[in-house]
Amino acid sequence: MAVLGAASATRLAHADPLRLRADAFAQAQPDTQSAAGLIVLQGHDRVTPWIDAEGLVWSGAKPNATADVLVLTVRVREPHGYGEVRAGRFVVATGAILPVPIDGAEAIGRTRWGATVEAFGGVPVVPRFGARAYDWIAGGRVAQSVASRATLGVSYVQRREDGEVANDEVGADLAVAPVAWFDLAARGAYNLTYPGVSDALASAAGRWGAWRVELFASQRSPSRLLPATSLFSVLGDFPSQMLGSTMRWKAAPRLDLLASGAAQSVGARLGGNGWARGSLRLDDRGAGTLGLEIRRQDVDQARWTGVRAVLSLPLGRGFRYSSEVEVVVPDQPNGRGAAWPWGLVALSWRSRTGWEVASGFEASSTPQHRYETDALVRISRALELP
């Protein structure tokens, strides 16, 4: 068992130009004897407001020594915001284009009258700079805003794998906020290879004092979300749909209550899901929290009920205790255990100088294992250089 520790450290942000952060994380899983270690290094440099760079690299030891780059970008910005260019490794996502990590470049141009033009191109990221064979992705978006109240955009993306079309989509997105208490957002993507809607989402929310009510709807066609080079993309259109609502009520200065319910159709099989959550801040600042959540899922073969409770308690002198407990009861255990309990206790300490240490112990009974335990340690250090 065992593992080493590692790092952390977040403290109040300061507007210094160069920030560095190192996290070392380790966990032990006695049942598999597979210790895991992870070191994450982050740097953020903001020499002037118009240029910044960011990097996040990590190395790990599970199951073998390995390392990779998660983010490595340089962004140059026209001082007044009329345009910007960024290049390197980053996640591209705009309009109806789903997030894709790429090694490439992106340019954005804006006009004073609300028009925006974006274009990007590059190579989809392969872990650890693995081999690529004629893979590339390119796309863009054109949008127009009207008086900061509405934005309408149209996007296009094409992705190729080994020279073959893997994704060829057009999309549209809309955001409207006609009055201060109401806003609406929607997006949809249309697959050109297998003609049809691959993904569509809409959300409308209204706020009245302590209340917020949101209505949401979605349609997703899994076969069209797969690369068109996958054999499983040819099975046709059996979309899943969801229609629901979420409500939030700030019932008291320290108490928030939330509830959500949705009806679902999964491949023409009807079902639904819902949850309710209460969150009580234990002091005016919200440093301590007590939370309780109950959740029910009932659709197709996914039927279960779950309860989760969290407690986060400041102990003074930079120490904090936290614990989290969850119990999930499946309707049809099928030999996977009648209930899947999970629990974690953690103690963390944060210094004023940028050091942070956290340790935890996790125990669970899962569908795979009668019981499972894990020890976790994280040590972090944040530096800010002038």
């Binding site: 079309v165 060829d168 957002a185 491949g267 999930v328 963390s348």
Partner: protein
């Protein structure tokens, strides 16, 4: 009578306890500073906040000292520091944070408002206002920032916004179930999100196969953080995936399940155990449950059987094979079925 009295007493105590716990009644020593009381006494702000009228962007904060208080309160009721009870420490920390991350000069604003502080600090007039920092909407009352908003030109006022780590409380509120909501909310304003969120915020979840560990794992001591993968997600991940087919592939590649499943011995391979129930594949029309489930959630199939594993399917579903036609009625594709991937796997004319 005694029972009724006891019941009333019990209810009163319970109400008092609830009021305290819910924050309806204050019990701690520190409380919001009595700005309103001072204002009603006709005390000018600059009498306590000395120097604020000429303060520029680099001037020290103008939070009054004990000496400032004692100029009027010559006989204080307590020898302890005034700020220990009058005003809350976290409010002052917020002011310090604002100083670091805002380009703002009181000097210019005092001249423009002719010394009327309340015009911006409207909370001064409210009883028990915790913070009197003006909300951003107050700025818009005088300043036309539509151009800056559209051009994402926040740097004129905000310094290193992405590093400030403060959620806005009066615009772009991240409320309720924002993890689910953020995808549709960000669609039209990705670059607006980027004005606060650095690249690693997105990459922490959407970094594909290069993410070393999800935020829920790294921040195991922060149970208050929202996230799809919190708590016992590993136990229920199969149920979560079944409940919303295609959701996983909006972040993960279709084969990202494979590494973990292979380690657990639940993946395609000679030594692996099959996760499928008896009767998964049957001969005859439909072929059993596997045909139904593959149509509902082809992403799950691709998780193990993608890539080279597709040959398992082709063995039966090739043209003329026993598996029959896997395409539904009305299926259409712009691909060349004899030459393009994946069509040629079954329809190819051979080498």
């Amino acid at each position: 009578m005694t029972a009724r009295f006891s019941l009333i007493l019990l209810l009163a105590l319970a109400s008092a306890a609830c009021a305290t716990v819910l924050g309806l009644r204050r019990t701690s020593g520190a409380h919001p500073f009595e700005h309103r009381a001072h204002s009603l006494k006709g005390i000018n702000c600059v009498e306590c906040h000395r120097g604020v009228g000429v303060a520029d962007n680099t001037s020290p904060l103008h939070i009054p000292s004990d000496a400032d208080c004692r100029r009027c309160h010559a006989k204080p009721h307590d020898e302890r520091a005034c700020g220990g009870c009058h005003g809350e420490s976290y409010v002052r920390e917020g002011v310090e944070l604002a100083r670091e991350h805002l380009r703002f000069e009181h000097r210019k604003h005092m001249a423009a408002t002719r010394g009327d502080c309340v015009r911006c600090h409207i909370e001064v007039t409210q009883r028990d206002a915790q913070s009197i920092l003006p909300k951003m909407a107050s700025c818009f009352g005088c300043h036309e920032h539509q151009d800056q908003w559209g051009l994402r030109d926040c740097d004129r006022c905000h310094v290193a916004l992405a590093d400030e780590g403060t959620m806005p409380d009066d615009h772009l509120v991240h409320d309720s179930d924002f993890v689910r909501e953020h995808g549709v909310r960000a669609a039209s304003a990705r670059d607006l999100c980027a004005s606060c969120h650095s690249e690693r915020s997105c990459a922490a979840c959407h970094g594909g196969d290069t993410v070393p560990a999800l935020p829920a794992s790294l921040a195991f001591d922060e149970p208050r953080l929202a996230g799809l993968h919190r708590a016992g997600f590993r136990s229920r991940h199969a149920e979560e995936a079944r409940a919303d087919p295609g959701l996983c592939v909006t972040c993960h590649s279709e084969t990202s399940c494979l590494d973990c499943h292979a380690a657990q011995g639940v993946a395609a391979g000679p030594a692996a155990r099959s996760p499928h129930p008896p009767g998964w594949i049957t001969s005859g029309p439909g072929g059993g449950e596997h045909g139904v489930q593959a149509r509902i959630d082809p992403v799950s199939c691709a998780g193990c059987h993608g890539g080279a594993g597709e040959q398992l399917c082709v063995g039966c579903h090739r043209v003329g094979g026993p598996g029959g036609n896997p395409h539904p009625n009305g299926f259409s594709s712009r691909k060349d079925k004899f030459h393009d991937v994946p069509c040629r796997s079954c329809h190819g004319v051979g080498p």
